[in-house]
């Protein structure tokens, strides 16, 4: 089963535990500025939105890379190989979503690689705003909410209900 990060901004409180977990996993220290996931605070609208790479099937970053430093692993994850990356930053321009970024302290680009299948951000999120699950069922929770609303006010009169 292919899995993906499923993000529900409605559950996010803006605590940034995900940014700390990500930076600890990847950098060995707590450093949100080097986090691959970022929480945006739309303060005046009372909204917090975690955002990171969604692992495009046809990844523009990958296609733009002149030295083939970005490859796709068995889980469909786009992985940057530091030994090949030359820090040209073309991928940061090609990515339409801004989720590939340059790390000045290493001279390489960084992006989410789902921590090899155990994303630290999802594990750290205290409210389940970030979960890691079946990519084909990422809409399950929303569908369920709307299914509940659709049935609101109706009584159970299925074909097997006695009249």
């Amino acid at each position: 089963m292919l899995k993906a990060l499923v993000i529900d901004p409605g559950k996010c409180t803006g605590c940034k535990q995900c940014e700390m977990a990500c930076s600890l996993e990847n950098e060995g220290v707590f450093n949100p500025s080097k986090s691959r996931i970022r929480v945006f605070d739309f303060h005046e609208d009372a909204r917090f939105v975690p955002y990171t790479c969604t692992q495009c099937d046809e990844a523009w970053c990958q296609q733009a890379c002149p030295v083939n430093a970005i490859t796709t692993d068995a889980m469909g994850v786009k992985v940057v190989h530091d030994n090949l990356c030359v820090g040209c930053k073309v991928c940061t321009i090609a990515c339409p979503f801004g989720t590939v970024n340059y790390n000045a302290s290493t001279g390489k680009v960084i992006k989410c690689d789902l921590c090899g299948g155990e994303p630290a951000c999802a594990d750290a999120c205290p409210t389940d705003a970030i979960t890691y699950r079946d990519v084909e069922q990422s809409g399950y929770d929303k569908m369920k909410v709307w299914a509940t609303r659709t049935s609101a006010g109706t009584e159970s009169h299925g074909p097997n209900t006695p009249a």
Binding site: T13, C15, F30, P32, F48
Partner: protein, 615 residues
């Protein structure tokens, strides 16, 4: 580890910026933040110095757990000599600013002297500049935040700033960071104003490391589970915020109302957490939009509210139609119960203005309450107030006052002195609900006796956050005690004071202690910091801090005579509720408290105590 080991020293008179290593011997004795910065302050300033003079210093301090994944590990404090009280001041704040200071590489920023012209500081990692603040002096907290981010083309900067109230030396001005989190009490914002320091802007790209990452993750994860499984931190606070207390405290008969004339507010329900969540009749939307976490916090008690656009306070003022920091319990109490105002939207507006102008809503609301009593007693008239009909319960009077106070216009200039100076000016000092000139908050000691001793002995003037015995006396945490009894309270207050001083110094939020004890906290500190951090050591550090603060205050001129409550609480019995017929009996508890502390009957730490604690 935990600590960055570096501090910044900025002399505004000379315009110099220096760095120095953190004194690690002191870090071992005082941990961080409140304790450690207070140690620097008491070593470096004359206790008798004028709080608003250039010889006072102001320290922005983080704790060793600030900027880590420990739940609530995002706190910082502003430590200085407070202008409202003349005592040591330490005001603690959340938001994201404190963690950003750690990421920039600094445990503390010590600011000394005073600038000749308005300035602001930028701390972008190692690049530290004192910059001209001519364009932002006179601007609000919200405008300043926006201006600084735009001027430096960096939306990821975090700003701590004063509003116009700090510039105007309103004695209960805050330092506000991240738009609506505040180092709120004792007038620390006025100290920045006196130094011509408008704001501190920080952006950090470095990391915070801990001694043993594996142990640290284990300890912090265990701590988060305890918070999640606890009814207060796992459900009550995220759902209702601190406002969960409004109905609880009112029913306990411990809600100071109309400047302490009453101990129950008949309209508490109208300004409660439950009311904030109800759809409004006017527009069908609730006042509360969502909860918000401060950095690293897995509780998320912050309130984000939106005022009804048709409410009289914001009609034709679209600048207030967005979401922002809503009412916490203390603010709802001060702006509401203390003044008798039950209009939730008016209170939310007043709260917005407090954030925007940098006013402490506790001292502001309580001062308006005192002024209302002066008005109702005929001591001041509408001539004094510039035409404001300052009656208890008047939302219009409250919102007019909040608009004037930060700007120091009209009667607002008098309100900005705080209730102790205001009532003294008009010959009625007994109407000030203060200890050491600082307004006490939302718990009436007639109905919660331990809070009487808490207020009387708090080193920063009346305050609930120095020993929150409400937890035990009302909520039964860690065990239930009788709120109306005085027996055993001296020991309870001391235990809470010492533990809280240690928690404050770690960089964690004291709200965790609804669920955590030092048994939960010490392992987190121990895994992060060099040294051996046991529960016993944390308590010893807490007690050492408490005594150090006390000695500073004694040297500043405070004596046992200042450990007393307003006369009203000692003489006028509660009229209603479970405490009906009772007064606050702090006198019974004080001698035992001094004794337990190892202080003389005059409230002075004995030599033996000082030696035992190596203060």
């Amino acid at each position: 580890m935990g600590w960055t080991g570096k501090i910044l020293r900025i002399d505004l008179s000379k315009g110099t910026v220096k760095t120095e290593p953190l004194n690690m011997d002191w870090a071992d004795k005082y941990l961080g933040q409140r304790g450690l910065a207070s140690k620097y302050l008491v070593e470096e300033i004359d206790p008798k110095t004028d709080p608003l003079g250039p010889d006072n210093k102001v320290i922005f301090a983080t704790g060793p757990l600030t900027g880590t994944c420990a739940s609530t590990g995002g706190r910082y404090s502003v430590i200085t000599k407070g202008p409202l009280t003349g005592a040591i001041a330490c005001s603690n704040s959340g938001g994201y600013f404190g963690a950003e200071m750690k990421f920039a590489g600094w445990d503390m920023v010590i600011v000394e002297g005073a600038a000749a012209k308005p300035v602001y500081l930028t701390i972008f990692d190692d690049d530290v500049q004192i910059r001209d603040a001519g364009d932002i002096w006179g601007k609000s907290v919200w405008e300043t935040d926006k201006w600084i981010k735009a001027a430096h083309q960096d939306p990821m900067i975090h700003v701590a700033t004063i509003g116009v109230s700090g510039e105007n030396a309103v004695l209960y001005s805050c330092v506000v960071n991240d738009l609506h989190r505040a180092a709120g009490r004792s007038g620390v914002g006025a100290v920045l104003g006196s130094k011509n320091l408008k704001a501190v802007a920080i952006r950090g790209t470095g990391g915070v490391s801990v001694k043993d990452p594996k142990e640290f993750l284990k300890a912090t994860k265990a701590g988060k589970k305890v918070l999640k499984d606890n009814a207060v931190t796992g459900q009550g606070l995220p759902t209702y915020g601190t406002q969960v207390l409004m109905n609880v405290i009112n029913e306990a008969g411990a809600m100071p109302t109309r400047n302490g004339r009453d101990v129950q507010f008949e309209s508490a329900g109208d300004i409660s957490a439950e009311a904030m969540a109800e759809p409004r009749r006017s527009d069908g939307h609730p006042n509360l939009l969502t909860n918000q976490a401060c950095f690293g916090c897995t509780i998320a008690c912050g309130r984000i509210s939106k005022i009804d656009e048709t409410h009289y306070t914001v009609q034709n003022k679209p600048e207030y139609w967005h979401a922002s920091g809503g009412l916490e319990y203390e603010a709802a109490w001060a702006l509401g119960s203390a003044t008798g105002v039950k209009d939730l939207e008016a209170l939310t507006y007043a709260n917005f203005i407090c954030n925007e102008q940098g006013l402490d809503p506790i001292s502001f609301g309580a001062t308006v309450g005192a002024a209302m009593e002066l008005y109702e007693d005929g001591v001041i008239t509408s001539e004094t107030t510039g035409g404001i009909e300052l009656k208890f319960g008047s939302a219009e009077a409250l919102t007019r006052c909040v608009e004037l106070t930060g700007k120091a216009e009209g009667f607002g200039k008098e309100l900005g002195m705080g209730s102790a100076r205001l009532t003294a000016k008009y010959g009625r000092p007994e109407l000030s609900m203060t200890v050491k000139s600082q307004e006490f908050p939302a718990y009436d000691p007639r109905g919660i006796q331990g809070m009487g001793l808490t207020y009387a002995t708090s080193n920063r003037g009346a305050c609930h956050l120095r020993s929150y015995t409400v937890a035990s006396e009302i909520l039964g945490i860690p065990e239930k005690t009788d709120p109306l009894a005085t027996e055993g309270k001296a020991g309870l207050v001391k235990a809470f004071q010492d533990a809280t001083a240690a928690v404050d110094s770690s960089g964690l939020c004291v709200f965790t202690t609804f669920a955590w004890t030092l048994e939960d906290i010490a392992p987190q500190v121990d895994a992060a910091c060099k040294g051996d951090w046991s529960v016993e050591k944390m308590l010893e550090v807490g007690e050492r801090i408490w005594n150090m603060e006390r000695i500073f205050n004694n040297k500043a001129g405070f004596t046992a005579k200042d450990d007393r409550l307003p006369e009203r609480l000692m003489k006028d019995a509660a009229k209603t509720g479970p405490a009906k017929g009772l007064v606050a009996t702090v006198d019974k508890m004080l001698p035992e408290y001094y004794d337990l502390r190892g202080w003389t009957s005059e409230g002075v730490p004995t030599n033996e105590t000082l030696e035992r604690l190596a203060v």
